[in-house]
């Protein structure tokens, strides 16, 4: 789920960066540091929407390094996967165990055990895709699938999820470009 939230981050700026454009530098550093990062409890920072200038307070000098620590408040667009959330994802890669799908930066693995029964043995190594017994459903990379998130693993700066398409209204949505 996407949502907007106010967050705080500490930027360590080296003396080399001090100058008239310090604030914009800090904003740039902030974006470089947080965008794309997954914060454990908030999810992926998709975009730093706004960094109010007045929220960049004067920094504190670290005595041992000479660097200055700025505490910056900013609003960011976040993507956080919730358990049992239903999402549309793009299949990125299929392998013998299932497939990986992406929702923006979020990687979701769908195991073959989480596929409908008629796809459990549907791995087709020639086409690198999962095919149902009746050949109706073909999931290969580039496809759009609707899946439900069953589990979530939070690692340092990264969130991955486990999904399932074994339920009503879940599964292949879009055949992708190749069909």
């Amino acid at each position: 789920m996407f949502y907007v939230k106010s967050l705080k981050h500490e930027i360590v700026a080296q003396p080399a960066l001090f100058g008239p454009k310090l604030k914009s530098t800090i904003v740039r550093l902030l974006k470089e540091e947080v965008e794309g990062l997954a914060l454990a409890e908030y999810g992926y920072v998709v975009n730093v929407i706004e960094v109010p200038e007045h929220e960049i307070k004067s920094g504190i000098i670290e005595y041992d390094t000479g660097d200055v620590v700025f505490s910056v408040k900013y609003t960011a667009l976040l993507l956080r996967p919730f358990i049992n959330e239903v999402l549309d994802a793009v299949v990125h890669q299929c392998n013998t165990l299932g497939f990986f799908a992406f929702v923006g930066p979020l990687r979701i693995f769908v195991s073959k055990h989480s596929m409908p029964e008629d796809m459990l043995n549907g791995w087709n190594p020639d086409k690198d895709s999962w095919i149902s017994d009746d050949k109706e459903v073909v999931i290969s990379s580039g496809c759009g699938v609707r899946l439900r998130i069953k589990g979530r693993t939070v690692e340092q700066g990264n969130i991955t999820a486990i999904g399932t398409i074994k339920d009503s209204y879940l599964g292949l949505m879009d055949e992708g470009e190749e069909g």
Partner: protein
Amino acid sequence: MSGKKLFRVGKHLRPPPSEEENDDDDSSDEEEEEDEDDEHPPNKPSTSKKSNANLSSEEDEEEDDEEDDEDEEEEDEEESKKKRRRSSAKGSNKRSKISSFFDEEAEDDDEDEDEDEPYGTHRDPDDVVRKHYTAEDIRKEQMDEETREMIARQDRRRAQAGFSFGEERSVAEMAKEIEDRHRMSRTAVDRRMLDQRHHRPTGRAGGASGASVARDDDDVDEGEGGGPEVTNAVSQQSLVPSVSDPSLWMVSCSTGKEQELIIQIMNKCVAYARQGRPLGICGAIAAQTKGKIYIESYSEPAVVEAINGVRGLLQYTMRLVPIQDMTTVMTVVPKKKPVTKNEWVRMTRGHYKGDLALVVAVRESGLKCIVQCVPRLDLAALGLSKEEQRVRKKTVRPPQKFFNEQELATLGFAAQRTRQRFPGMDMYCDFFENNYYQDGYLLKEVTVGSMVKPCTDEDPPTLDELQKFRKRNKGKDEDGDDENEGSKAAGSLLDELSELQGKAGLSKSSTSASGGLLVGDKVEVVEGDLVGMKGKIMSMDGTTLKIKPMDASLDIGGTGEIEFLANQVRKHIAVGAHVKVMDGRYANETGTVVAVEQLDGGKDFTAVVLTDVTNKEISVRTSQLRESAEQYSGQDKLAGYQLYDLVMLSGGGSANEVGVIVRVGREDFTVINNHGVSRDVRPEELRGKRNTMSNRAVALDVQGNQIRSGDQVNVAEGPHKGKAATIKRLSRSQLFLYSQTRTESAGIFVVRSRSCLLAGSRNQSRGVAGVDGSMSPFATPQSQSRGPAAGVRGKGQDSLIGKTVRIQAGQWKGYLGAVSDATATHVQVELHSRLKKVMVVRERVAVVGDKFGATEEVNQNDPNMHNGPGAAFSAAATPMHGGATPMHGGATPMHDSMSDEVWRPGALDHESTQEELASSAWGADTSQPFGSPNNDDSGWGSSQSGGTWTPTATKQEPSTSVPVKLEQPGTTLETHAGDNDETAVWFMERVCVQLKGDDRPAVIKEINPDKSALVELEDQSTKTVSFDEVSRIQPKEKDMVLVIGGADVGVEGELVCIDGSDAILKDANEDFKIVDFVHLAKIASDG
């Protein structure tokens, strides 16, 4: 007063009241009481174990209090009876009072709730019709305010539950109600919904007890399991009976008649209701107890009424079920499984007592079965007399041995053996001594229960037994596919067992004792009245666990913890959880659960776990799993090496083979080497880790961006094209990339650095900087300024072998080749461009790359390093270092626009440098004559610029404003280490140069050993200059050029045109070659 009415109705139904009847009542009550007195003590421990937590002590107190209170409302005879009872029972057993109290209390319920009056008012003495008031009653009433409060509270609860059982109700309504209730029991019961059903008589009790009315045993299974798990668990919890629910009476009857009697009671109930005089009972149940039926009601007389006249019920056995035992009544005990085919059984008596056997077929609906076991044939006894045989039979137990025809024949009993069909089975067996043998096994029909009994969990087939059972086919393999099924079964079970026990030597019992449960584990109740409830283990005591339900909204009274036996719960692992395997074959693996499946019929569940590191799917019993956030990478370490270490390999034929460990086994590693080939190596074959080297190393991607380990790259070409991955390790220009989505080689694959493109914003910012010209990212490697001294580095004895070198002097000067052998003084170089090996003095070769060819530092020995004024040079060195540090720390200065440079350390230095070098515009532009200032070569310092640098005027324009030295941050220090040459590659005969002093063009005629050269100037005069005094001339179109680097090194030709960074030249054979422009040196057109 409808409540009273109900009672009176009840009374009316009875035969006209008489003394006799009353006596009857009394006697039965007394009997009941006695019974209870007897029964309670033994009952108590068992019930407390059952842990129906809602019967808290508080409620006990309330009951006591109410007991006092209810006296007021007792009818006279009851009152006196009570007194009598009290005097008799006083001091003996408080419990009995409580239970006997229940029925009376239940009567109160009826009254209270049916009155439809606000609370408290009905307690008004004026309002209630009372025949007798004892002084005691009045005293109590006045005195016991507290008690009354409690009662009021109780009543409120009762009213909430709602109760009415009006006579107006039609049969249709009742039927509908029963149907509703029945349906409710199938779906999840929501407590709130029940509370709203105010007028429903047994709404509160609907799920637990009422629902059972229409059910018999066969129905029970169906009724369970409906509805979502969570609500089920909650509703189950809420349905545990309490004091406000109807009580349960047990009545004995003759065994087998239970269900019939229930139907009778039901019919009676319906008939009475039709007459407008409903029985006051809520339900009647034939549970699984044999010879007992249960009747549920708020009032005892109603029960008496209901069973009165029903033939087959022993009315005097009627007894109240203590509230704690009510759930037990309803507990469904799974039927004893009859033996099934392919089940392991144990013989219990006779010749084969204790032996393991396998059920081959089941006969007579499970009463008998045919088993297969290893015979204990005593061939030695056959020849003896009957008398001796009998003695022998008692003393000697023949060993288990397979039936063998040949053996029989040798002993001379072959004649007694015949082929016969096993009676009732479609298989032919050897018949010998009244026994049937098939495939060496004995087939025998036995009675289940007396002769054999199933192997229980406590006494499973042992490994030894199974091996014995299976042995036969091991020795005699010709059967192949025909392997006896029993043997196969033994084999598969053996496999399973050995898997279970694992190589770690864990015995099976250790896993099964507590089911692998630990405090803090999440469990799900699989047995008992709280099936489906999930909770967390708070404490363990032997096999009893205290579990805190996960749903905090559950009110179970008291401590909030419920006791269970270990075998009543199973570990609950949710799909998606991150787990660690605690036991068994996959012990210590970690991963994410992708599926949980139930084993056939078993209590245990298997979870499919996707492992973290190896990305494999493994099936593990949930009891072996534990939720854990930890990540385990298989085996940790072996001989000091661990997963993903960059290691030097030996024994692979090549001296400098490196690889990354992708698997750590028990005694070996799997290593993927720099060719991308993985192989197994032993620890002895590894020659140390190179992780630090990898962490320090920098390589260049296809655009010339610097990439380090940890960077994200996209593969731009080759077999892995299109993949995105992280650099795990790098060794020279080989990247060991790691991709989480790869399952092979632990996610590692090998790609050349030049085939990759740095991903993400860093890439862009670098690129932009380069285009702006504010700072070229492709700056000259600073390390070259270290000069000759540094050049000696890296020429260790053997380290040279396999390296690509350039020959620096002599006949083969300028040629590239691979060192195939090395002595202390000489190296043997295998030339790239000629099929030849040449011996060269060691000092005359310079390492330019690894065994895969030259790395990109062709122009590294750029002249500007040597011709720059010394002072400016060292000044410039400072900013470089200043810049280099942040580069390692986060690359920030490199991204900076010009505006920030003021703030960079050493910025002033470059200003001075700028002035000094102001004249050294990048005059390499074709529009300029080659006689431009000799510093012009500095533009060529960008050894790595091949990819993007284009020698056009527009591109160069900004660079003119940029001080040369500024370019020096952002170099590739490490890759160039040890590659310094004393002279530039181009410094050789016939090359056109210009003198740095006056920019006059000249041609090198001869190279002296002392690094000076004889040059011929335009005016045919000759001059001896040192390397430092000349610089190279940029070739232009139509010039004769010599290729001094790249694949075509040594080729001479005419430069046809310049296309971006590439130059097209025509060689002597009129072939066109495309060469990097930077690899060209202009030579005099005709030697």
